[in-house]
């Protein structure tokens, strides 16, 4: 029996910059994970719906617009409402240092800013996946 780590890489909100998300998606694939990429302009509701149907172990959110405090929190809130507490949530983008504690408190387990080596993200996911 062989389980693969399944990851949803999603871009919430109105931010159209998906280069980073695509680079991370490829890195995760090359690390042997199954990556579901959904494209731009997802609502928090859509992201959680997709995470549910795809039964992912990880939700990766990418946002460069500055709205991460609102949108990342929306996603973690709906995940909790749906009782999907065994899903690891990670986020990346232009996220100021001072926002990190607030995001972690809201249930974003890992936050990765610009310049993070891809291996760090892969390692974090492999070590923290909840099932």
């Amino acid at each position: 029996m062989e389980g693969k780590i399944r990851v949803l890489v999603a871009k919430p909100g109105l931010d159209g910059h998906d280069r980073g998300a695509k680079v991370v998606a490829r890195a995760l694939r090359d690390a042997g994970m199954e990556v579901i990429y959904t494209g731009l302009h997802q609502t928090a509701e859509m992201i959680v719906n997709t995470a549910l149907q795809e039964d992912v172990d990880v939700v990766g959110l990418s946002l460069l617009s500055g709205a991460h405090m609102t949108l990342f929190r929306d996603v973690t809130k709906i995940l909790k409402e749906r009782d999907m507490i065994d899903v690891l949530v990670v986020g990346g983008g232009i996220i100021p240092e001072e926002d990190v504690p607030g995001l972690k408190e809201a249930g974003v387990n890992g936050v990765f800013g610009p310049g993070t080596p891809l291996e760090d993200i892969v390692t974090f996911i492999k070590e923290n996946v909840k099932r």
């Binding site: 029996m1 062989e2 389980g3 693969k4 399944r6 998606a25 490829r26 995760l28 694939r29 090359d30 690390a31 042997g32 994970m33 199954e34 990556v35 579901i36 990429y37 959904t38 494209g39 302009h41 997802q42 509701e45 859509m46 719906n49 997709t50 549910l52 149907q53 795809e54 039964d55 749906r82």
Partner: protein, 313 residues
């Protein structure tokens, strides 16, 4: 978790999603639950969509799904993308084109990697069809990988197989070699607003005409522009007409038997492979045999026979 099968039959999304994961991982939980689901499956209409890469299959599927929703029917979608043979990972991107339908709770979409299977499908696809069927989905649409030349396995699952192509591929017959031609119950020429449309329609019609046997059902060719929702309701009519045609004869039952046969063979294949290649006893044995083959003490055929004799004992 012990009522997984029951929760699936009640149509609970979480349970459906989780059981699919178990099936993909060939877990014993899946085997138990699948056994219980079998008697309540077999009701759904299964549609296979195959064709060359970039033909617009995902976009078309989203439109077909919406058309069925307008008719009041629920939909399950299985979208398959290739697993990298090098890393074992996969980038599953079919949902990008299905965004318009992700908010409908009556449409369940699951993306799957091929995980080493050839033929455009994935080993667990039979299970996933049964799961969505038992969960009450009226229509199940299976999208194959899209390499275009070796995806004939879809006919083992689908009641109706739709082969999608587009204008401007150059020699379109080339794109249909190696059996892909014969599997079509319906042809779709998508992106029909593009240059080269008349040419491909003419080529396809003459091809369909040549291979048409008297008394057989003709293969319709449906032009669509999926992005503009053009031709989609005509396509759905053709799919339903084909389904009705099957049900008039024994063809429908034959299709179903063929699917169960393929599923049975797949389960046995998977278990045998696991038995031989995952059990540590055999692993050591295989390593030793490879050494002996390398040293020319035996040959690959004799070594293979040795393994098979032990397994079948």
């Amino acid at each position: 978790m012990k009522d997984l099968a029951e929760r699936v039959m009640r149509g609970e999304q979480r349970a459906i999603a989780r059981l699919i994961t178990h099936a993909e991982n060939s877990s014993p939980i899946a085997a138990e639950a699948m056994g219980r689901l079998h008697s309540s499956s077999g009701r759904a209409q299964v549609i296979g969509i195959t064709g060359v890469m970039g033909a617009g299959k995902s976009t078309l599927i989203a439109e077909i799904a919406m058309e069925y929703r307008r008719k009041g029917r629920t939909v399950g979608i299985i979208a398959i993308d290739p697993t990298s043979p090098f890393s074992g990972g996969a980038l599953l991107g079919d949902r990008i084109r299905m965004m318009s339908i992700t908010s409908d709770p009556e449409i369940f979409i699951r993306s799957m990697g091929t995980r080493g299977m050839l033929g455009g499908l994935t080993g667990a696809v039979y299970d996933v069809v049964e799961i969505l069927d038992a969960a009450g989905k009226d229509v199940i649409i299976v999208e194959t990988v899209g390499v275009g030349q070796a995806e004939v396995d879809i006919i083992k699952i689908a009641d109706t197989t739709v082969v999608v192509t587009v204008p401007g591929l150059g020699d379109s017959i080339q794109a249909f070699k190696a059996g892909i031609m014969e599997i079509a119950d319906i042809f779709v020429v998508n992106k029909a607003d593009r240059p080269g449309f008349e040419r491909i329609m003419a080529e396809l019609s003459s091809m369909v005409e040549i291979s048409h046997m008297p008394g057989e059902r003709g293969v319709p060719i449906v032009p669509t522009v999926a992005k503009e929702q053009e031709g989609v309701s005509e396509l759905v009519d053709e799919i339903d007409a084909h389904q009705a045609f099957l049900k008039q004869s024994t063809a429908f039952e034959e299709h179903r038997r063929r699917r169960y046969e393929a599923e049975l063979v797949e389960i046995v294949r998977k278990r045998l492979m696991n038995l031989i290649f995952d059990e540590s006893v055999f692993k050591e044995r295989i390593e030793k045999l490879v050494e002996r083959i390398y040293a020319k003490e035996t040959d690959p055929y004799s070594a293979a026979q040795e393994i098979l004799t032990t397994v079948l004992k």
